[in-house]
């Protein structure tokens, strides 16, 4: 039931790109993306509401394939500030609850 994210962890150099995937076994109405810095609360990045929709936030964008029940987060030209754990959250209809994925630890090095 919990969405599965891949990879579990990724290490980048500044300026490199990364893709984080989120896959659900259930039909999805929307997908959220959050970033959590160590010791802090998660921070909302974006929400995707329609199949195939892409949204952007700074140099971070995401896509949502409703049919495949998958979403991907794209980080381009990564910065040190992008380091943290990224979680997708899936909303499966009128359940009023967001179920978070397994998480992806991203470390950006100078």
């Amino acid at each position: 039931q919990q969405p599965v994210q891949s990879p579990q962890a990724v290490i980048l150099r500044e300026g490199e790109d990364a893709v984080i995937n989120c896959s659900s076994s259930k039909a999805l109405y929307s997908v959220h993306w959050y970033r959590q810095k160590h010791g802090e609360a998660p921070v909302f990045l974006m929400i995707l509401l329609k199949g195939g929709e892409q949204k952007g936030h700074e140099k971070i964008s995401a896509s949502f394939n409703e049919k495949k029940q998958q979403s991907s987060l794209y980080l381009t030209a990564s910065q040190l500030s992008y380091s943290g754990t990224y979680f997708c959250g899936t909303w499966a209809g009128a359940t009023n609850k967001l179920i978070f994925g397994t998480g992806t630890l991203l470390a950006v090095q100078p």
Binding site: E40, A41, P42, F44, M46, N96, K97, L98, I99, T102
Partner: protein, 110 residues
């Protein structure tokens, strides 16, 4: 603007002691409210959510309970803490878009 307050920030409690964590939201009415728990190095586990006063949905059967005595107040409680209750407790609210989290309570049961 909306703000969410959660306290205390840190708590060390002995096994078998009671627990009460409080969360309040300002600047909005009738928010959906949530309690999540995060074990060290792990993902976000949904514990309880509420769509209105007195309405509580439990996701994980355990020795924790939640109450919503007022529209913008959400309380997490336990009569007797277990070692396994240690973790980072996060309150969150949503008005229909992204989730906004409180700063969290780091609970250590000793």
């Amino acid at each position: 603007s909306q703000t969410i307050h959660q306290w205390p920030a840190t708590l060390v409690q002995p096994v078998g002691s009671p627990l009460s964590l409080e969360c309040t939201v300002e600047g909005t009415s009738n928010p959906n409210l949530y309690w999540y728990r995060q074990a060290a190095g792990r993902g976000l586990q949904l514990l309880f959510y509420s769509v209105g006063i007195g309405q509580i949905s439990s996701e994980v059967p355990q020795n924790l309970s939640a109450s919503r005595p007022q529209d913008r107040q959400f309380i997490l409680s336990s009569k007797k803490l277990l070692l396994s209750d240690s973790g980072f407790y996060l309150c969150a609210w949503t008005g229909g878009y992204g989730y906004t989290f409180g700063s969290g309570t780091r609970l250590t049961v000793v």
